[in-house]
Symmetry: none
Subunit: 235 residues, 2 copies
């Protein structure tokens, strides 16, 4: 480990130490420079950036339970309920909607005071009818849905990588073009879709993590996600 401000060895020293070509060393140092971990100073060499220590590539490593319910480190920055929001076509189709617009819940979450995730929840019209207006809130709506006989039981979850467009960049206080982890989650109650959730997480602040179990049958491998998900009181 190098301390912030420390000098890297010269290219020749690194070549000798790692017994690789100078081209390989240059490429490796180039990656560190691109990632903002070291900087080249003209005529002086390559140094670990002073801000490399405070640069936290992934401030939150978590499970889906923690993401859905939140953790003590997370707070809702603001949320709003918006009506007559145009729903994307795939959202309308997934929710089996006739009309082209509906009610959405929009919120941002902070992680230790910094914008971390931006979420748009497209609500099924059936859920909007079921709940009182004041019950349409970020997490506790699930309790009200349960109380009124429509408990959420499962979801289809996906994750992909995107770069921030102007809407996402503004809401996450990052530059356009920065990496964001995009989560789509269609939440169901029994067989009925309840809501379609889009969340963009700051790529440099969030990493999803799980344990995998490998089961062999001869030379056939089956992989399952075996997360020990904590049950978090959601009071």
């Amino acid at each position: 480990m190098y301390a912030p401000g420390a000098a890297l060895e010269s290219e020749d020293e690194l070549v000798a130490e790692f017994a690789v070509s100078k081209a390989t060393i240059r490429q490796a140092v180039g990656v560190l420079v691109e990632r903002g971990l070291v900087e080249r100073r003209q005529g002086r060499g390559t140094f670990v950036r002073e801000d490399a220590a405070v640069h936290r590539p992934h401030a939150f490593v978590g499970s889906f339970t923690e993401l859905i319910i939140g953790t003590d480190d997370m707070s809702f920055r603001e949320f709003s309920v918006e009506h007559d929001v145009p729903f994307p076509v795939n959202v309308r189709e997934a929710l089996g909607m006739q009309s082209s617009s509906g009610t959405a819940l929009v919120y941002r979450r902070d992680l230790r005071g910094e914008p971390f995730a931006y979420t748009v929840v497209y609500l099924s019209p059936a859920v909007v009818e079921l709940l009182e207006p004041e019950e349409i809130v970020p997490f506790e709506r699930a309790h009200f849905e349960m109380k009124r006989g429509m408990p959420i039981t499962g979801a289809t979850q996906s994750m992909s990588a995107e770069i921030a467009d102007s809407l996402v960049a503004t809401n996450l206080s990052i530059e356009i073009g920065q990496p964001v982890l995009f989560s789509e989650r269609v939440v169901r109650s029994e067989l009925r879709p309840v809501e379609f959730i889009h969340t963009w997480y700051r790529g440099d602040m969030f990493k999803w993590q799980a344990d995998l179990s490998f089961a062999w049958s001869g030379t056939n491998l089956t992989v399952t996600v075996s997360v020990d998900e904590p049950s978090i009181p959601a009071e």
Copy 2:
């Protein structure tokens, strides 16, 4: 296979054809709608989207079994075994290594002829000793490890969003700055780490997807990933 624009059978016809409940058919069609493959047209039925064939925001939607073993659509473009590769500090620490460099397996996978994933496997020195040089190959090395008494049993898996640097961009034939999904996987045999795998997937070609199950205990929610992972023969 349905052609773009083709109509799906009615729910009742599908129920009869597959001998399952209408609820199951609805759920199955709902999944196709969510994935943008079919669309419901008011009062007319369900149709394969005209853009279903060409529209591939995410050409591969898959499970970890499929990712690890590969699918028929995937091929290894090239692979190489490199010695004396400098290992990143966190990799060395995870593998419990004394030396700063080791043996790595580097490969690219194509999805239907297009570069899709770029992988660097940092091998534990214990595994390099265990295997014959010709056994250090992309997937089948797991079979040789099993045969020699070190079967892989589990892993810690994480996913995050990054933008392509020059190394990744070159290997995936994309522009620097394009989104990539970055996977880190530490593979273990019993309690011993076997390898540390870095993979960068083209953000516009890959989406990871899983089913979640929600378990309620009072108002406490626990979320588990309940993927029905296919077991794929790994000949």
